[in-house]
């Protein structure tokens, strides 16, 4: 018996598109969410590329634009190589450390000390916080990470970072090892890092504590840092992960900000001169960090607490809470966050030096980042998974807004005419970021 001859009805080449549409109607959007990644060879190499663009704006001061690119190559079997490139363009006005005054103050911009360019002086109106309004800087930073499994339960990471600005260069290396125990429910990790920085401020490096008007400058300076981190991560339950870290680091060398000066104030509140700041040439920091993450069916939350203390007598506490809310069958999420920060002042922090004991001053800095303050950050992030991005595990679009408010702590008894001026103002800043992963 023969098979019955028949007219062949060829099924057209567009079947798949129509089928995808039909499957979507049947199954909902999940059918088209991602392309299958399957092969008959070894696990394929995958690429993941993260890009983000951030805009940062401080009220009346600095603004920055920061594009970021992250490339992660997954070789399978736990081996990955990641490359991060960041570019910052900062511009605006940066406080130079001097106090407001009842009189007009005139300063020479650091760039003005360069012999080849004319001096750029800037003046500050009475009652205003002195800021270098010519401030602009660009930073290019790159980081390379190589993660590789050594044995079934042991993972090693090697990394290198560098950061370049026209007056600053930093290189660092890090290495860490993580070991899984207890059926992978516990991970212990140990990491070390080493950093080497060079500073070449325009016009030379000011001699710490020298008179601003003497232009007492030296050549470039360096600083060195080394740190160690010990961590444990514990899976508490299927929905609860806990992480605890202890870390310490020590920096030595030229730790001053070469552009920060301090006002010298007489008993009447008049500014009689300025000095470059002078910080100790070593700083040791220790910190403890605890993070808990929990997940539910449609939400997840993370609470982290950090305590940091250093031998400059700065103690700080950070608490951060974020909640991620999935909507629309886990394709979209909202993530509100709240961060609280408080620090005490360095023991040599002083908003000004009084003329009476100018000669006896040791270390001194009026950099508000070393003063006592507390700050609150409110954030909201929105993320959305992107469908069908070819060979990758699925893309994501995200947008983030953060509002930061810093409030100065402590009370300063200003002499004479300075009373009534806001000597150490706080800070308000806003951050906008959009990102794509594909």
């Amino acid at each position: 018996m023969q098979l019955k001859p028949r007219v062949r009805r060829r099924t057209g080449p567009d079947v798949r598109c129509r089928l995808i549409a039909a499957s979507c109607a049947l199954l909902g959007a999940s059918a088209a969410r991602s392309q299958a990644v399957a092969s008959s060879g070894p696990a394929p190499n995958t690429w993941s590329i993260d890009t983000a663009l951030a805009y940062y704006h401080e009220d009346g001061r600095i603004q920055a634009i920061e594009p970021v690119v992250n490339v992660l190559k997954d070789f399978g079997d736990g081996e990955t190589v990641g490359l991060n490139l960041t570019f910052d363009a900062l511009s605006g006005a940066s406080p130079n450390g001097a106090l407001p005054s009842r009189n007009v103050q005139t300063f020479a911009s650091p760039s003005g000390k360069n012999l080849t360019t004319p001096a750029k002086d800037y003046t500050t109106s009475p009652g205003q916080l002195p800021v270098d309004s010519h401030y602009h800087d660009q930073r290019l930073a790159g980081a390379l990470d190589w993660q590789l499994p050594l044995t079934r339960g042991t993972q090693a990471t090697l990394g290198a970072k560098m950061s370049y600005e026209h007056d600053f260069f930093s290189v660092s290396g890090n290495a860490s090892i993580a070991e899984d125990f207890n059926e992978k429910n516990t991970t212990l990790s140990l990491g070390v890092n080493d950093e080497y920085d060079t500073l070449r401020p325009i016009g030379g490096t000011p001699v710490a504590g020298s008179d601003y008007s003497l232009f007492d400058k030296t050549a470039g300076k360096t600083k060195n840092g080394a740190g160690v981190l010990l961590g444990v991560t514990q899976v508490m339950s299927r929905r609860w992960l806990s992480e605890f870290n202890l870390s310490a680091d020590r920096f030595t060398g030229y730790l001053n900000d070469p552009y920060k000066i301090i006002s010298i104030i007489d008993a009447a509140g008049n500014t009689t001169g300025y000095e470059y700041e002078r910080r100790p040439d070593a700083r040791t920091r220790k910190s403890a960090y605890l993070e808990n993450r929990v997940g539910w069916d449609r939400a997840s939350a993370g609470l982290s607490l950090r305590y940091m203390t250093d031998d400059w007598q700065i103690h700080s506490e950070t608490a951060q809470l974020h909640v991620r809310w999935w909507i629309d069958s886990q394709d979209k999420y909202f993530e509100p966050s709240l961060r609280w920060y408080r620090q005490t002042a360095a023991d040599f922090y002083t908003p000004w030096i009084s003329a009476a004991n100018q000669s006896s001053t040791g270390y001194a800095s009026s950099d508000s980042r070393l003063g006592a303050f507390h700050a609150l950050t409110f954030g909201l992030k929105y993320g959305e998974k992107l469908a069908n991005q070819g060979n990758s595990a699925g893309g994501e679009f995200s947008a983030r807004i953060e509002y930061y408010q810093q409030v100065t702590d402590g009370h300063f008894n200003a002499p004479g005419s300075l009373q009534g001026l806001d000597l150490v103002p706080g800070l308000k800043a806003i951050l906008l970021q959009i990102g794509w992963r594909f």
């Binding site: 060829r10 099924t11 798949r16 499957s23 109607a25 059918a31 092969s39 069908n388 595990a393």
Partner: protein, 304 residues
């Protein structure tokens, strides 16, 4: 769906350790061994998640099996010739079947099950008489149904069979249920039709596809990161008559097995339903299966 087991499937699930740090929840549904693979999950969690998947498989089986008296399909068959109103899930499957019928120029047809009255792929190896086949052909054709959701009129003597899509549909349904509640890697496998949400930690899923008839029945090992794989064609179900091998894939236009069809076709796609339809349509192309799949631009593996 596949014929009923002589032993009615016991609605029980078991949990097996598959090597270090991988649990498999195993159960039987649609006459197939089914499993849910969960790396890095403890046993109580695996039991909870496994129950979710198994319940969904059994629900779909119960609802759409043509072997059960209490299924929707049996109810439709009891109401031939009457305008009935079907539930939304059945309606969406009927809509899907109609679209597949249209896009395949009638090659995929859920009314073609009547041909089983003539063809028995069993040990008897009997070829039916041509007039027996021709008597059945008028009962085939999705376009003979009166279907306007939710109203269905199944003409007398016609049959509906969701077996060609039921198992893949059940995989996707179970996948959606689990994926909405669980974000760690998992793989759902109902009798060789499978779908994974993401690669397991350190590597990809290794999937063995049966290749009966090949040298020592060697399985083909595929790696899957995420997405679905479906296999059509049962290389064990064929009949030999006068030296000619008749596969069990029947062309609804002729009522005869498709000539030159591969023994099995495996397709990778984003959903199991899509993968299953593509592999079924490929088989129906007969000797042109490979060419058809190339045209669709999907990853596929063919056993001739």
């Amino acid at each position: 769906m596949a014929p009923p087991d002589s032993n009615a499937p016991a609605e029980a699930i078991g949990i097996e350790a598959r090597g270090e740090d991988l649990l498999a929840v195993v159960f039987t549904a649609m006459a197939s061994p089914c499993e849910l693979l969960l790396p890095g999950v403890d046993e109580p969690a695996a039991a909870t998640l496994g129950a979710l998947v198994a319940e969904e498989a059994w629900r779909v089986e119960k609802k759409f099996s043509r072997y059960r008296d209490d299924s929707v399909v049996a109810w439709i068959h009891r109401n031939r010739g009457i305008d009935i109103e079907v539930d939304p899930e059945t309606a969406s499957l009927l809509d899907f079947a109609r679209q597949c019928h249209q896009m395949s120029d009638g090659l995929f047809d859920i009314t073609s099950g009547v041909l089983r009255r003539a063809w028995k792929f069993d040990a008897t190896s009997a070829i039916p008489a041509q007039d027996a086949i021709e008597r059945l052909l008028p009962l085939i054709g999705f376009d003979k149904l009166v279907w306007q959701a939710p109203h269905l009129l199944l003409p007398l003597e016609m049959e509906l069979d969701f077996g060609g899509i039921g198992k893949e549909y059940a995989v996707d349904r179970a996948y959606d249920l689990l994926n909405a509640r669980f974000s760690a890697p998992f793989l759902i496998n109902f009798g060789g039709d499978l779908r994974a949400n993401r690669a397991p930690p350190r590597g990809a899923w290794q999937v063995g596809i049966e290749r009966p008839g090949t040298l020592r029945d060697a399985a083909m090992i595929l790696t899957l990161e995420h997405g679905a794989l479906a296999t059509s064609g049962d290389a064990r179900r064929f009949l030999m008559h006068d030296g000619i091998r008749y596969g069990h894939v029947l062309d609804p236009h002729t009522g005869w097995p498709v000539a030159g069809a591969p023994r099995s076709v495996t397709v990778a796609a984003s959903s199991c339903t899509e993968a299953g339809l593509l592999s079924t349509l490929a088989l129906l192309q007969g000797a042109d299966a490979a060419e058809f799949l190339e045209q669709q631009g999907v990853r596929h593996w063919i056993v001739d």
